[in-house]
Amino acid sequence: MTRRRAVAALAVALAVRASAVRAQPVIVPGRLEIGIGPQWTGHAALGSRNANETTGAGSPFTLFSSSTDLASATGLEARIGVRVLRRLEAEVVGSYATPSLVIQTSADSESAPGVAAKERLRQFTIHGAAVWYVPARRAGARTAPFVTAGVGYLRHVHEKDVLLAGGTVYEAGAGIKQLLVSRDRRRLKGVGVRADVRAVARAKGVAPDGGTHVSPAVTASLFVRF
């Protein structure tokens, strides 16, 4: 029990009170789960930078300003999960999306009109995650709320297959699985849908400041369990 609590605490900073853990059945059958579905990731502000020249006194003279954003994008997410403990699953998750990198220029010293310069990127992530099924008294027999957290590799590639930058992706959130079909004695033990909301932190990647930037993400997927 102590180990389970420790894993849960690692999995996500969610208010799962140990005292509330009750021996409820995990309704998701089977040991292996495969899922796929669309993922929407929100916009991320990646920082700003001035184009500075230097005066004779050494102070900066701003020629223009820029701010960089990674626009929101819809992509695809696929996952393979394996039950590790009764309430804990380990997942390998891959995603693909094509967000636009947007660099907005402004405040030009020679009055050049600002532009929102764009270029579409390809974003790949692969990460490992833990899914912890949260005991919930009000959940139905076919419904399993969960919390999840993970960490992995981020890769931003330009359309010409130019690797722009690699980085790290961190995710944490919560969701729910709804079992549509359950067959205990067959190889295919279940079919269901999953929806989750996560905070996605992308570190480095194309961020000009090299920092970590957080965006919301929503995923809906269809899964099968074996």
């Binding site: 930078r49 001035n50 184009a51 500075n52 020249e53 230097t54 005066t55 004779g56 006194a57 050494g58 900066p60 003279f61 020629l63 223009f64 820029s66 960089t68 990198l101 947007v102 660099i103 220029t105 030009d108 010293s109 020679e110 009055s111 050049a112 009109p113 600002g114 532009v115 929102a116 310069a117 764009k118 270029e119 330009h158 010409k160 130019v162 690797l163 722009l164 930058a165 194309v206 000009p208 400041d209 090299g210």
Partner: protein
């Protein structure tokens, strides 16, 4: 070996107003029926004179010049190196096969702080000799004294020419009441107009200078690690000559400039860090155009400053692909 019998190029750093010079980041010179990049084919050896001016001893002069040479040598992406050959009593403008740096009293050049000239092998384009004179009609200092021009800063600029670099347009100026221009700010040592007397800001190379020297004398790994942006600038469908094109890297705020240099309106900016860049285009209106191009060149000045409306990605070890830029008249 055929040597030119006259000085092929003269570059001057102006106190207030630019003097005739050639274009952009590296000089192209006609040699053997084609245009080649002006550069040294061997480590250049230079002499320094022992002349002094008020406030600058011979030792001060040699020290400031040595520090300026060392600054260029320290560029990690460039192989350029220089060798001090000793002192000389020769004047810095003599066509004697020796590269000489020293003071020269030229009160007639009342807006020229210093100038660099070259002797070139016209069959190969290789540099044979390059002399730099510092105009002793001005007040000089090696310690950043107010009201005196900083010798090390000016030497750094002239040694850029000595190495084959032309002028950069990365700077902003304003017209002075008495004529000429005053620098508001610059982001290249190779900007043709110097900071005001007393400033030592010109002692530090900027990204544009580093890209320029790297372009001429690259280390062996540069072609695999850096990239370039190339393209074409047009106005009303016609190619534009002399547009100043600047690549801005939002990851570090660095700027590297280039020009459209031919009748097709083509430009190429090399030695750029890989990754996303913003491209800005402007007319050459912060210095006289003959600081960059020959006086007979028909440089287009009548267009508005603009940004390219897409992010230009510089690939590692490659080129962005041609970027088409259509500018609009003022």
């Amino acid at each position: 070996m055929i040597r030119s019998t006259s000085i092929a190029l003269v570059c001057a750093l102006s106190a207030w107003q630019a003097q005739p010079a050639f274009a952009y980041i590296k000089f192209g010179v006609p040699a053997g029926g084609r245009t080649v990049t002006l550069k040294w084919s061997q480590t250049p050896r230079y002499f320094v004179t022992t002349d002094t001016v008020p406030g600058v001893s011979a030792a001060d002069f040699q020290g400031a010049v040595a520090r300026a040479f060392a600054t260029w040598e320290a560029v990690p992406t460039s192989t350029i190196a220089y060798q001090l050959a000793g002192t000389t009593s020769a004047r810095p403008t003599e066509d004697d096969g020796s590269s000489v740096l020293g003071f020269l009293d030229r009160p007639d050049l009342d807006r020229v702080l210093a100038a660099t000239d070259f002797v070139i092998d016209v069959t190969t384009g290789a540099l044979i000799e390059s002399d730099i004179f510092f105009n002793s009609a001005f007040q000089w200092s090696t310690a950043g004294e107010a009201s005196r021009f900083d010798l090390q800063s000016i030497a750094l600029h002239e040694i850029g020419h000595f190495s084959g670099l032309g002028h950069s347009a990365l700077g902003e100026t304003e017209l002075r009441e008495g004529g000429g221009r005053r620098v508001i700010a610059a982001q290249a040592v190779m900007f043709p107009i110097a900071y005001a007397a007393g400033s030592t800001e010109g002692r530090t190379l900027k990204a544009d200078d580093i890209a320029g020297i790297t372009d001429i004398y690259p280390t062996s790994d540069v072609n695999a690690t850096l990239g370039s942006i190339s393209g074409r600038v047009t106005k009303d469908g016609q190619p534009v000559l002399g547009a100043h094109v600047v690549a801005f890297d939002p990851s570090d705020g660095s700027m590297v400039g280039g020009f459209t240099l031919n009748n097709q309106g083509s430009f190429s900016i090399g030695s750029l860090s890989p990754g996303p860049h913003i491209v800005r285009v402007e007319p050459l209106d912060d210095a006289d155009t003959d600081s960059f191009f020959s006086a007979t060149a028909r440089v287009e000045l009548n267009f508005r400053v603009m940004f390219v409306d897409r992010v230009i990605v510089v690939p590692r070890g490659g080129d962005s692909g041609s970027v088409a830029i259509a500018v609009i008249g003022k």
